[in-house]
Symmetry: C2
Subunit: 284 residues, 2 copies
């Protein structure tokens, strides 16, 4: 198993399960509610640790009660927090409306605490890790972290998740080995076809491995030779898509870190995401 | 000034202000966030106390941190809590998405604690109050509370808010003097016109005073002789409709309790609600 460094966000997720998505101005009851530790990087770290990788999470954890809870959950799941700074402030919270009819998850995120700064990251002995993964956020600081990582590792892979449109983020692609795009991001760039999107991005940013998830159509990947692979989604009854992207990304890192080829890894990741959306929550 | 008993719900409101209402499955950031003590009855009690009425709130307050906070806020606003039972459990929370473009408030409510039971209510020396108001919920228990109140008061008015469709609720109208209906409720009964709705309900339930709010069209009222009044809404830039119904109801009770006629009270209540929707939050 590998030793992984996962950098990004940890949040408190408050999930309200509803029997339909509320119309604007409606007032309705939640059928069910739970809270969980969320955030893309923290969720990936939990899943990878459950697959018996050694896994360190780097990201800000606030000093409030929710932060204590997030830290306790990650520790319980064997995620290392030695490099996760505890900063004064309120934990970021994602208020999630989960429609049990179709598994859609609508997220209103509130964030008041500082982002992870490169100063904190650049204390980490990154050379010890077999794989480094980054959530694509806070672009200016992330650029410094990637530069520091590149200087201090030999040839360990670096992966980058690009889920949301943030100015300057794509310029960082040249620093990494694998980029995970989301369908929402491809749509925002004006693409309605994953393969065309991936070819276009590779033309722009060079021969980097890239993936793009595409919901009920599965996911696509492109390798350094420009070969495109597609893995169709499992046919399941979709009940909860929350965190499906994180499960996909974790599945991909797991498979690649354990020696699978890109095409195999893509199929593995899609299968894991398919199992996830068929069940409520993320079983670890 | 009067001595008022306000019976119903107290909640923690978590208000996320957004720049548009999220599409289903979207992920977005809140521009701003605040928490406040909400719930229709608790909000009415706060407003009426701020207008210098003596005001007691009766409703379950949970024993968790949010419940402490709700109790502290009400006490600070001079709302009496002598008859509000503190029960073990989690405070009800309303997760509110406030669209700053048009002031709409979409509410997903989560409730785990017990409702107020008639046993607790029937300990209250109701004869001391000048006015008794009830939120229309928990029908079976509410019927017992109304029967107890009727037995123990002389001729003090009783008002009832009917905001949501709950089985058997309309049968209680004959026990009260004033019913406040919401537009959402009238719509649910198949009515698109407030006046026709009020005439229909009076025909069904007898010569009780009734009002119905109608958003940007103001509100309507019908008196015991079947005369219908309309008060048009103020022309304001709507930024926050959260609690507008509670402000209307409080305005109505305030005006009637201080001797105004139904028509005057309707205009006063509509004006108060109009001022509220033009401002963020409820200034007390």
């Amino acid at each position: 198993m590998s030793f992984l460094l996962i950098t990004g966000n940890a949040t408190l997720d408050i999930v309200n399960v509803v029997d339909h998505y509320p119309q604007e101005d409606e007032e309705m009851r939640a059928e069910q509610q739970w809270t969980a530790t969320g955030g893309n990087a923290a969720t990936m770290a939990k899943i990878l640790a459950a697959q018996l990788h050694r896994c360190d999470f780097v990201g800000v954890i606030a000093t409030d009660a929710a932060g204590d809870c997030i830290a306790a959950t990650l520790t319980e799941k064997s995620v290392g927090l030695d490099y996760a700074p505890r900063l004064t402030g309120k934990s970021p919270v994602s208020y999630i409306t989960l429609n049990q009819q179709n598994g859609s998850r609508t997220i209103v995120h509130h964030r008041a605490v500082e982002e992870l700064m490169a100063d904190a990251f650049c204390q980490i002995p990154v050379e010890r890790y077999d794989w480094l993964h980054f959530e694509g956020r806070n672009v200016a600081e992330l650029a410094k972290m990637l530069a520091y990582a590149r200087e201090n590792i030999i040839d360990q892979p670096i992966s980058l998740e690009i889920e949301k449109d943030r100015e300057g983020l794509e310029a960082l692609i040249e620093q990494v080995d694998l980029v995970m795009f989301s369908r929402a991001y491809a749509h925002k760039q004006g693409f309605m076809d994953a393969e065309i999107f991936l070819r276009d991005r590779q033309e722009k940013h060079g021969k980097v491995w890239m993936t793009c998830t595409w919901g009920e159509q599965g996911a696509w990947a492109i390798d350094q030779l420009g070969e495109v692979f597609h893995a169709p989604a499992l046919r399941v009854n979709v009940v909860d898509t929350l965190g499906a992207g994180d499960v996909f990304n974790a599945g991909l890192v797991h498979a690649l870190a354990t020696g699978q080829l890109l095409e195999e890894a893509l199929h593995h990741a899609v299968k894991m995401a398919g199992r996830k959306v068929a069940e409520q929550g993320i079983a670890l």
